[in-house]
Amino acid sequence: MIITLNPEKDDIPQTNSIDQEQALEIFEKICYTRAFEKQVKKSYDTHDIKCPVYLSVGQEAASATISTFFKPDLIFTQHRGHAYYLSFGGDKDKIVDELLGRDSGCNRGRGGSPGVQDLNIGMIGHHGLIGENVPLAVGAAVGDTTKKVLCVFGDGAAEEDYIFTAMAFAQTHKLQVLFVCEDNDLSILTKKHVRRNWELSDALKAIGMPAVDIPDDPELIAKYVNEFKHKLPAFINCRTCRHLWHVGTGQDGTPRIDRLKEYKQKLIQMGSSSYKLQEIEDQKLQEAETLWRRHLERQ
């Protein structure tokens, strides 16, 4: 089944694809990533972090949801990868030390923010060239056809020449890759409509790949992850909203949407206790703050 929703116009349907326990797990992951990134921002602004940082603030829902329903053997993300690292259970101490440029970091301080990786969760670091993780992910899937692979990139990378051919190769060979585009409509600050008049999901449908274009609502993501993970390769274009700059911690105006707040509201409407959700949010803030303080004090 191939479905395209117009994320700008269509109401997000109720899919009942998430039970209460899973919903809380997703909410916790969103909150933790948000809290972690806030700490990164703080340390970047105080110059404790001296490398460029690519923050996931506003874009936490995709990784939080995908990691709850899909257990890949290998994960190839792009430069904005903190959220995947954290949601899939990467070592928290090592990502902090990596951002602080320490030898005890996940790449001994050599990969920085775009390169975060943890081989224990199968996550391969990104070197910073957008989209090159796509052929690498496809190559890993052809190298070991027993492994399930998650490949994440952005709407800018979707325009790189080699993306489509690599995905088409995966389609030809029926490789087990779930491709996810975190589409924040921005290449640094250039909007998508300025750059192109086509959607990658349409192009992939044309070659027979299951593909969908949806907002980053956890219920919708869950629905398609659960459906697509049994018919890989497949593609999810996930419309999201980056709150901060492409690189660094700056902000241009009020974000169009805050998925954390939206999801929290949705959970309350569906019967979750607002007190409990607030407690989770506060607790995650506390956890991230404690983690960062502990590492910064070692300096």
């Binding site: 790449n107 670091g125 070197h127 052929p135 690498l136 992910a137 190559g139 080699y162 190769f169």
Partner: protein, 307 residues
């Protein structure tokens, strides 16, 4: 019966695909002569579509899973499209991410017969320039076996600069050291075949030369085999099939000079594009060209000694 280099490549590949769970990737492998009959008809062959950029990434991705891929580039000029993931990820992954990405890059060359501007290049020098690659140019069956054995122990990509002119080679190419030699000539890639002929021509004119084969361009090991003949002759010439300017020949000449304090010049392909007509070819320096260069160097030394 003794094997040719082409047959050796095919046998190594067959063993890798059938016994090591190895993999070979490339365009048009299983047709048009199976890459000059160097690819066996067996399992684990991945035919890539015309994905000259993504293809290298797919090969590197397969390497991450431990398949030790052989990645075939039928003409070295195609490396410009194919090199991004190899240079930027495969070659850097060990140092940055502690991830092994061993890809055996069979970069084939040819020359002459109107092969023209984008099918006749030899480009190993560019890969010497980039960190993380091992670079070699095997021209004999024994050398290819050595190179393969080294690859199987390697954690990163290896650029194997092949040339179709060598595929029928059966014999090893020995170094030559002669007493009273006037110059030491070093050879890379197919220039080694030209040098062997040039040395015979020079011998007939009473000029004796040493000859040293260079298989490994990077890492370059300046062993006694490399330096001793030069120390004796006091002058050297490096001949390469790749471009001379900023290439392997100039780079190795500099390294040898630094090590021995003896004068070494470089001779490689000229700094010009190749046209299809014969008069626009720019291939391996010919024996005649090498002879002329050697005589020129000897003359320069003679004059400077008399001054």
């Amino acid at each position: 019966m003794a094997q040719t280099l082409g047959e050796t490549i095919k046998e190594i590949t067959r063993k890798h695909l059938e016994e090591n769970n190895g993999i070979i990737l490339g365009q048009c492998l299983s047709a048009v002569g199976w890459v000059n009959n160097t690819v066996p008809d067996t399992k684990n062959i991945i035919e890539l579509p015309m994905t000259d950029v993504a293809g290298a990434g797919i090969a590197a991705g397969a390497a991450i899973t431990g398949r030790r891929p052989i990645f075939v580039i039928r003409f070295q000029d195609f490396m410009f499209l194919n090199s991004s993931t190899l240079v930027n990820y495969a070659a850097k992954a060990k140092q940055i991410f502690n991830v092994n990405v061993p890809v055996f890059i069979r970069a084939l060359a040819t020359e002459g017969n109107g092969t023209g501007p984008v099918h006749s290049g030899v480009l190993h020098g560019i890969f010497m320039h980039m960190p993380g690659f091992k670079v070699c140019s095997p021209m004999t069956p024994g050398e290819y076996k050595e190179v393969w054995s080294e690859f199987m122990k390697s954690d990163g990509p290896m650029y194997v600069s092949e040339h179709r002119k060598s595929f029928n080679q059966i014999e090893e190419i020995p170094d030559i050291t002669t007493t009273d030699a006037e110059i030491t000539i070093y050879g890379i890639s197919t220039s080694r075949f030209s040098i062997v002929q040039a040395i015979e021509m020079l011998k007939n004119e009473g000029i004796k030369c040493n000859f040293v084969n260079i298989l490994w361009l990077k890492p370059l090991k300046l062993t006694e085999r490399m330096t001793e003949p030069l120390l004796k002759t006091g002058m050297g010439l490096i001949v390469d099939t790749d471009f001379e300017i900023a290439g392997a020949s100039q780079s190795i000449a500099y390294e040898l000079m630094k090590k021995t304090k003896k004068y070494v010049e470089a001779l490689g392909a000229m700094d010009k594009s190749v046209g299809t007509a014969k008069r626009y070819e720019n291939g391996t320096p010919s024996p005649e060209k090498i002879v002329a260069k050697v005589k020129e160097l000897i003359e320069i030394r003679k004059q400077s000694n008399t001054q």
